[in-house]
């Protein structure tokens, strides 16, 4: 039954979505209608052919992970389950300096949703975006060597029925967004002025903050590109119709035919533009959104390190105070109080040592995590952009075919 999951086995996760339209009885209703209906996701998990992945020098976790070798299994999860998983993981591992991948929220960065005039493509779009984002979220988790070992993750992947996470009602939709924003805000607004002894951290934080800025800018631009692409598609369709009408009104037979053919070409172009808008969205815009969320988590890990530092400093300050009190009490000759203070001093000394060790540990973790993040980011980003551009180029090839088919019709006009 229990087979060990070797570190070099690759766990792959794919996500399909079943959209349920009935409300669960005890589900608290949020303001926006999208969150009334919880998506249910079927997660297929399979262990792929063992691949050698890069070894890391993390401490090997002793708990064997029971995985069914060479089998696929499926579980069903609600959207709030994903959020619940994130909450658990970030509570547990965040303070230790781990970069916990965040799931998608309801409204990404408060972007206005692109509303297209066509029937249901907007909601189909939304569902697919969410599914793909959740899939990437899980992929990131299972590819993180430490997170994969977490029992909550295993339970999420394996368990037949997940108990409804307590308090996650508040996490769905706007509530979740508020929580995320509050957490990041609270941490960013910390006026911790840290004496940074390590230049590496100072530089990295700068990089992260600047990257965050640029990615947000990029996201706005790519969303604008999507809008314009969809507009182009609509305008092309409407032009196609108009050209067809013109063709039917034309009394020269050959020209009339050529105009109808032109209308057909433009119709095909409309489809190309639609597909391109999809490419823009899924292979570009969504990925930028992912990076923005991830960078938020990276920021978070830096902030947790600062918190650890602050705790250490506070302990040192408290110890200092106690020593001053001790000195005063020595003068004042109050043996009972003195004894108390001496005990407190001992306690604080332990704490100071503990917190210093914690800070060092968190620092080391953050460093490792950031290096790992950078590597992944460099590899993925390039691949993703190339993928996006290749789709664009395919479009162009298709374009040639359409126009080449039209050219003889134009030449046939007499």
């Amino acid at each position: 039954q229990n087979s060990n999951f070797k570190e070099n086995e690759v766990l792959s996760v794919t996500l399909s979505v079943q959209y349920l339209f009935q409300l669960d009885d005890d589900e608290e209703e949020e303001e926006e209608e999208e969150e009334e209906q919880e998506d249910k996701f079927d997660i297929s998990i399979s262990v792929k052919d063992p691949e050698k992945i890069g070894t890391n020098d993390m401490n090997a976790f002793q708990t064997p992970l029971p995985m069914f070798r060479n089998k696929t299994f499926t579980v069903r999860r609600r959207f709030s389950d994903f959020l619940g998983l994130y909450e658990k993981l970030s509570e547990k591992h965040g303070p230790n300096g781990f970069i916990v991948p965040p799931p998608p929220e309801k409204s990404i960065l408060g972007m206005t949703k692109v509303k297209v005039g066509k029937e249901d493509s907007s909601s189909a779009d939304f569902v697919e975006r969410r599914r793909a984002a959740l899939e990437r979220y899980l992929q990131r988790i299972v590819h993180h060597p430490s997170l994969l070992q977490d029992p909550d993750v295993r339970e999420f992947l394996e368990r037949e029925e997940l108990p409804r996470a307590v308090g996650t009602q508040a996490l769905s939709g706007a509530g979740f967004l508020k929580m995320i924003n509050k957490a990041t805000d609270a941490v960013s607004k910390m006026t911790i002025k840290m004496n940074e002894s390590d230049v590496w951290f100072e530089e990295k934080l700068q990089e992260v903050e600047s990257a965050d800025q640029q990615f947000r800018k990029l996201h706005v631009l790519v969303e604008s590109l999507v809008v314009h692409r969809k507009e182009l598609s609509l305008n092309t369709a409407s032009f196609a119709k108009s050209t067809a009408m013109l063709g039917s009104a034309e009394d020269n037979t050959a020209l009339s035919r050529a105009l109808s053919q032109l209308a057909e070409v433009e119709d095909k172009m409309e489809q190309l533009h639609q597909d391109q808008a999809t490419n823009d969205t899924f292979n570009f815009a969504e990925l930028i959104a992912d990076y923005i969320r991830l960078l938020g988590s990276v920021r978070g890990s830096f902030d947790h390190r600062m918190k650890a530092w602050q705790r250490w400093q506070d302990a040192q300050a408290a110890l200092q105070k106690k020593r001053e009190t001790e000195a005063k009490l020595l003068w004042a000759n109050k043996p009972d109080k003195l004894q108390l203070v001496k005990e407190e001093i001992a306690e604080w000394e332990v704490k100071v040592t503990q917190y210093e060790r914690d800070f060092d540990r968190v620092t080391a973790t953050v460093r490792k995590e950031v290096v790992r993040f950078d590597k992944e980011k460099a590899r993925n980003f390039k691949r993703e952009i190339i993928n996006y551009l290749e789709c664009l180029l395919q479009s162009q090839q298709q374009l040639i075919k359409y126009w080449e088919a039209f050219l003889p019709e134009a030449k046939a006009i007499a």
């Binding site: 507009e231 305008n235 013109l246 020269n252 020209l255 105009l259 551009l389 090839q397 126009w403 030449k411």
Partner: protein, 394 residues
């Protein structure tokens, strides 16, 4: 902005070597465009065989209006007046760009500026083309090419402004107002005896509304292409900044930026070619059809006059008074109407041919350009974008 040695895309045939006109050159100062109108002729009616004059847009309007207001030409399709050069759109964008300069990187700003300059140039190109075509339509018309004012326009080496003012006082633009208030109801309402004109009327009215619609839709398409091209500029600039700041992106930064620069160039060219070949074509023929409709209107008016003269003659016969005048008037109206009908038929028939030829030429050219652009960007791996930019002459 100076435009030298421009080859225009004519929608008309300019085969008659006895009178060749082109606008090889134009100068743009602020809002005023000065066209250099160049004439080469073997006709003895001109003083020189090869000469050029500077002309403004208002001079073209004057010429057009005098032609419209000439009775003798009532049975002809007067080529549509070229629209006023309109630099409003790029100028406004340039203004906005200046305001937003602080929010962009230097490169972004430079590229946007380049794009706007290209847009200026495109507007410029279009306006030269459309003014040139107007003159070429006249020079290739058997009757209009002999017009005295046309000759003055081509030859008179002084400023035409004084002449223009005089002309306005003479005509007062009253006939123009009449034409402008052309009631389509009048055209569609008359009882048509001639099958040819009946068909033409139906056809032109229908075609006009459809081509007007197509023109508007084509304009919207072109605008979308331009928007996308602009988006690519901003995206490439942002990717560039990203790669400059961040060590992990640095090694592929130039590559991303050049990819999007390339895409933007292609998109921009597609937009402008579509504009010139398709939108301009539709726009021009929309105006030309309006000119044809004006001809129908004038003929309809002549028919109404004739019918009224018949009624007047009947009345005169009834009253046994002023019969000879009424008969004479009726005869004249009939003559006028017949002349208009005969001339109109010829004009409308050659108009058909002209339209078909122009559509053929422009549709072929547009298809060829679209293929060229798509081919340039197509069989290539994204990694080759960098070299491609140099090949594509950016």
């Amino acid at each position: 902005l100076k435009l030298a040695n421009m080859r225009s895309v004519s929608v008309d045939l300019n085969h008659d070597a006895s009178l060749l006109i082109d606008i090889p050159d134009a100068l743009c100062e602020r809002d005023k465009v000065k066209f250099t109108v160049h004439t080469k002729t073997t006709l003895s009616s001109f003083q020189k065989p090869d000469f050029s004059v500077p002309r403004q847009h208002e001079d073209f309007i004057w010429l057009h209006d005098t032609l419209v207001e000439t009775e003798d030409y009532a049975g002809l399709i007067i080529p549509p007046v070229p629209p006023k050069p309109d630099f409003e759109s790029p100028r406004e964008k340039m203004h906005k760009l200046g305001e937003g300069e602080a929010t962009m990187t230097k490169e972004e700003y430079t590229k946007m500026k380049q794009e706007l300059e290209a847009e200026y140039l495109a507007v410029f190109k279009k306006t030269v083309q459309v003014h040139e075509v107007f003159l070429q339509r006249l020079s290739s018309h058997p009757i209009l090419s002999k017009d005295r004012n046309f000759q003055i326009f081509l030859e008179y080496d002084q400023d035409l402004t004084v002449r223009r003012k005089n002309a306005k006082e003479m005509f007062g633009g009253f006939f123009k107002n009449m034409v402008k208030s052309a009631d389509e109801v009048l055209i569609s309402g008359i009882k048509e005896v001639d099958d040819f004109f009946e068909q033409e009327k139906t056809f032109l009215l229908d075609y006009y509304s459809k081509i007007k619609d197509s023109t508007a839709k084509a304009e919207k398409m072109t605008r979308s292409h331009k928007n996308i091209a602009d988006d690519y500029i901003h995206i490439s600039a942002t990717l560039n900044t990203l790669s400059a700041d961040d060590s992990t992106y640095r090694h592929c930064g130039g590559y991303y930026m050049s990819s999007f620069v390339f895409l933007q160039k292609v998109e921009g060219r597609v937009a402008s070619d579509q504009e010139l070949k398709l939108t301009e074509l539709l726009r021009y023929y929309m105006r030309d059809i309006q000119a044809a409709k004006d001809l129908l209107y004038r003929r309809a008016r002549a028919l109404v006059d004739y019918e009224n003269s018949n009624k007047a003659l009947d009345k005169a016969r009834l009253k046994s008074r002023d019969i000879p005048q009424a008969e004479e008037h009726q005869k004249q109206c009939l003559q006028k109407f017949d002349k208009l009908s005969e001339s109109g038929k010829k004009e409308l028939t050659s108009f058909k041919g002209r339209r078909v030829v122009a559509f053929r030429k422009n549709l072929i050219e547009m298809a060829e350009l679209e293929i060229k652009h798509a081919k340039v960007s197509s069989p290539i791996q994204p990694r080759d974008f960098y070299t491609l930019i140099h090949v594509y002459n950016m």
